[in-house]
């Protein structure tokens, strides 16, 4: 059978602002047979998105296809005119973007955007398209499939948007679908649903797919073949089986080795031995939410419901839970961005003002938050040097060489090259941004750091390095972390205790190694059983307790 997609010696060039040409894809060739799913994996910035986009005949501003051919169903996308490409896009090749939140038009209802492909290419009448969309919503386990389409993008959570964008791509029954990290923002339970849905939809209609990810375990479940990329070049191509069991290239081996980080059991044991330290953070029935206050004193949209816990100095608390369960809201409330509607927060034993602007400078310094989205948390107009230098000058009054030296130290700490400090955030890859984001928090010499999904954008190698760094800092400086993630293994790797949240409520809190063990909260067990394994057959053979799934998956 002739391949559906054939990429031959693809070269993509970018023109830098100095007018210099840079080759970002350096001669890549591979092919995809009909119905086959090929995964592109590799570190952040290795060119995954760039290659995927060439299948649509598209390159980002400033880039162009400099050589080679990308033939999709017999047509060379690199050579077509813009008009002809537009005819192919959405119908033959569809794209699920990396950042779904940004890819939705904030001013249009979701349904209009999901069925837009059918409108553009006049595939079917509107009612039929809407019905099809609702089917897809159901298949992708979206809550309220009948009505979710009438909402606006900001009214659904990040994970939901990611699935909606998949529906948007699938509606035109394309021959090839490109998934650009479609499950990165999802919690594991949802991830399973989504992966299953992808798989079944694609199998049914014999769609071929390109699956971009840095998560090997996920890739293992869905891909037939894997392409390992680094620096715009293919390191290794092989079937999923072969890559996982017999990697040839050293880089592939490195990726695999980093997959299961060392758990934190040892550190925990050491900590419990010492006398009970004073809690650094104490939450007493804290509730918070969005929208105006109702007569009963609760906000219209309650996102955190009476959460209490204690976090002792030098220890870490993990917070896990599905997307939209209120993890970030909890962090924002503690940080004083969103005032709690009820309850109290004590920091270092003293009650803390609900809003950050009423807190003392010392309190502000000691409590730092690392935002989930590094993209928006870094000022695009400031160089890394300025971003890191400001807290140093602000809190510690550092100037001149002393400040520069500290900036260099911070960059070393987060394993970033020092030369990077002259760049703007836009010139960094996602993983690098996240590390700068963390370094800025560390610059304050905090006592408690609220880490909101700081590793989800990172490939396994870098993520493991970051976790190591956090542990190291904790050992040296006695920090505490509130570590928010939907990635259970990461949480287990660093946290002493884990709090499981479900719909704004903390359903249980227990030592990290006991999460998901029998006897725990059923939701926690479900979460634990949903963590993908490197085994390619894991998803297909996975048997989850149907009752649990029924109780917690369909929202």
């Amino acid at each position: 059978m002739s391949p559906l997609v054939e990429i031959r010696d693809l070269k993509v060039e970018a023109t830098t602002d100095a007018g210099r040409r840079v080759e970002i894809i350096k001669g890549v060739s591979f092919e995809i047979a009909p119905g086959e799913i090929v995964a592109l994996i590799g570190e952040s910035g290795s060119g995954k998105t760039t290659i995927a986009l060439t299948l649509l005949g598209y390159t980002r501003a400033g880039c162009r296809i400099a050589g080679g051919s990308v033939s999709v169903d017999g047509r060379d996308m690199a050579a077509l005119s813009e008009k002809e490409r537009a005819k192919v896009r959405g119908v033959d090749v569809a794209y699920v973007p990396q950042s779904a939140a940004a890819a939705f038009n904030p001013a249009q209802r979701i349904m209009d955007q999901v069925i837009e492909i059918t409108r553009i290419h006049q595939l079917m009448p509107r009612p039929a398209a809407e019905a099809k969309a609702v089917e897809l919503f159901k298949a992708l386990s979206l809550p309220a499939p009948e009505s979710i389409g009438s909402r606006y993008p900001h009214q659904v959570s990040g994970g939901q948007l990611q699935r909606l964008s998949a529906a948007m791509a699938l509606i035109g029954d394309p021959k090839v679908v490109i998934f650009d990290e479609p499950t990165t923002a999802l919690d594991v339970t949802t991830q399973i649903e989504v992966l299953r849905a992808f798989k079944s939809v694609m199998r049914q209609s014999r769609m071929a797919g390109v699956y971009v990810s840095h998560d090997l375990a996920v890739v293992a479940q869905i891909a037939d073949r894997i392409v390992v990329l680094k620096g715009g070049e293919i390191q290794e191509i092989g079937t999923t089986e072969q890559i996982l069991s017999a990697p040839k290239h050293p880089y592939t081996r490195e990726l695999l080795a980093a997959f299961s980080p060392v758990a934190r059991v040892a550190a925990q044991a050491a900590a419990t031995a010492s006398p009970p330290p004073q809690p650094v953070l104490e939450l007493d029935a804290v509730s918070a939410g969005y929208g105006r206050l109702q007569p009963n004193g609760k906000p219209l949209m309650l996102a955190v419901d009476a959460v209490s816990f204690k976090l002792e100095r030098g220890r870490n608390l993990g917070v896990i839970g599905e997307s939209g369960c209120g993890k970030s809201t909890l962090a924002r409330t503690i940080a004083g961005i969103l005032p709690p509607s009820s309850g109290h927060i004590r920091f270092d034993g003293r009650p803390m003002a609900p809003l950050a602007r009423d807190r003392t400078p010392e309190e502000l310094r000691k409590l730092q938050i690392v935002f989930q989205s590094a993209d928006t948390a870094l000022n695009p107009a400031q160089s890394i040097e300025d971003i890191l230098g400001r807290p140093l000058a602000f809190y510690h009054g550092l100037r001149g060489p002393a400040r520069d030296a500290r900036i260099d130290r911070l960059l070393d700490l987060v394993h970033l090259p020092r030369a990077l400090k002259h760049r703007l955030p836009g010139e960094l890859s996602g993983g690098q941004k996240q590390r700068v984001n963390l370094a800025r928090a560390l610059a304050a010499d905090p006592e408690l750091v609220l880490c909101d999904e700081i590793t989800s954008a990172l490939d396994t190698v870098v993520a493991a390095a970051i976790i190591e760094l956090l542990k190291e800092l904790q050992r040296e400086l006695g920090l505490s972390y509130l570590f928010i993630s939907h990635d259970l293994t990461t949480v287990q790797a660093i946290c002493d205790e884990v709090a499981v949240m479900y719909r704004g409520v903390k359903v249980e809190q227990l030592p990290a190694d006991q999460v998901g063990k029998a006897g725990g909260h059923p939701y926690a067990r479900l979460l634990m059983s949903s963590v993908p394994k490197l085994d390619p057959s894991w998803l297909d053979t996975l048997e989850r307790d149907p009752e649990l799934v029924a109780a917690f998956s369909k929202r």
Binding site: Y58, R89, P97, A107, Q108
Partner: protein
């Protein structure tokens, strides 16, 4: 949601009324600092001290200023704009015709210039960086850097004096046919359009360019949407806020700022009335004109704000 909107509008209305009150007081105070008063102005060269004193007494100008202000305000609240000092006629009568004329001219200009300006702005945003875009940019700046009176005068010279296609003067009345109306409005509308379009073109271009740089515009393109569709369905709704704001600001110029056009085309509008009122120190008339400008301005700005809010689901 509708309740929210209503309370928003209500709040806006309240604030607008308060603004009006403040403005009327500020304008009143300002006119008090102006040298000379209506008695002196009316008497002109004949303003001997005795004559001025006599006229002042006869016109009740010797009452305390604040008393006159409240008298005017009281009248205003009961819908009575008062009597003009300069010619003893009811102000409502003086203003009505002039305001009608101004609104007609403003409406004609808006109808003509807003679509064209927006079309130019949006198309040049679509073709950003192209020759077309650069020529539009260049042309806009060139056009606005030519003084208004130069455009108007040159227009009259060419179209009225040399070609005799259009009349040199534009009286709003005495119009018998649609064609005649077009001929009469053509030149003032052109001149004003030149003046107000630049801002609309530049702002709509900037706003649409901004919206086109977003990932969702890119996504729409990846769905196969044509360029016009990307702009009209995705970029434009998100650029609406800044665009309506620019339009509102530009249109607000059409009432008070058209003095030069009114003068050159001898168009009896409200801007000239205002300047006359200031020149004759006709306090009630100044106040009434200022109120009209203020109301129209607030109306435009509030409409723009409300449209901006409605167009953004997050703010709605």
């Amino acid at each position: 949601m509708n309740l929210h909107l209503l309370s928003l509008l209500g709040g806006r209305l309240l604030v607008a009324l308060l603004t009006l009150l403040i403005v009327s007081f500020v304008v009143f105070c300002a006119t008090q600092i102006l040298p000379g008063d209506v008695a002196e102005v009316l008497l002109g060269q004949a303003a001997t001290p005795e004559a001025v004193a006599g006229l002042r007494a006869a016109m009740h100008l010797n009452d305390p200023a604040i008393l006159r202000f409240f008298r005017w305000l009281g009248g205003m609240l009961t819908g009575d704009l008062g009597i003009s000092y300069a010619n003893n006629r009811p102000i409502a009568e003086l203003v009505a015709g002039r305001l009608g004329n101004s609104l007609q001219l403003a409406a004609a200009t808006a109808l003509f210039s807003v679509p064209i300006a927006l079309a130019l702005g949006i198309t040049s945003a679509m073709l950003r960086g192209s020759l077309y875009d650069r020529s539009v940019t260049m042309a806009t700046i060139t056009v606005i850097s030519v003084p208004e009176f130069m455009i108007a005068t040159a227009g009259v010279l060419i179209f009225a004096v040399w070609l005799k296609w259009l009349p040199a003067l534009s009286f709003a009345r005495d119009v018998h046919s649609f064609g005649e109306m077009l001929r009469i409005y053509a030149m003032p509308v052109f001149t004003l359009s030149f003046v107000i379009s630049a801002q609309m073109i530049r702002m709509s271009r900037a706003a649409v360019v901004e919206a086109l740089n977003t990932p969702y515009a890119e996504m729409a393109q990846l769905k196969g949407a044509s360029r016009p569709r990307v702009v009209l369905r995705h970029a434009l709704p998100n650029a609406l806020g800044p665009i309506v704001n620019a339009v509102a600001l530009s249109l607000s110029y059409l009432l008070g700022g058209v003095i030069i056009v009114e003068t050159i085309f001898n168009y009896p509008g409200i801007a000239k009335l205002m300047v006359d009122a200031v020149a004759t120190r006709d306090l009630p008339l100044i106040q009434s004109c200022a109120m009209i400008f203020c109301v129209v301005y607030l109306l435009l700005i509030t409409t723009a704000d409300v449209i901006a809010i409605l167009s953004n689901p997050k703010l709605r």
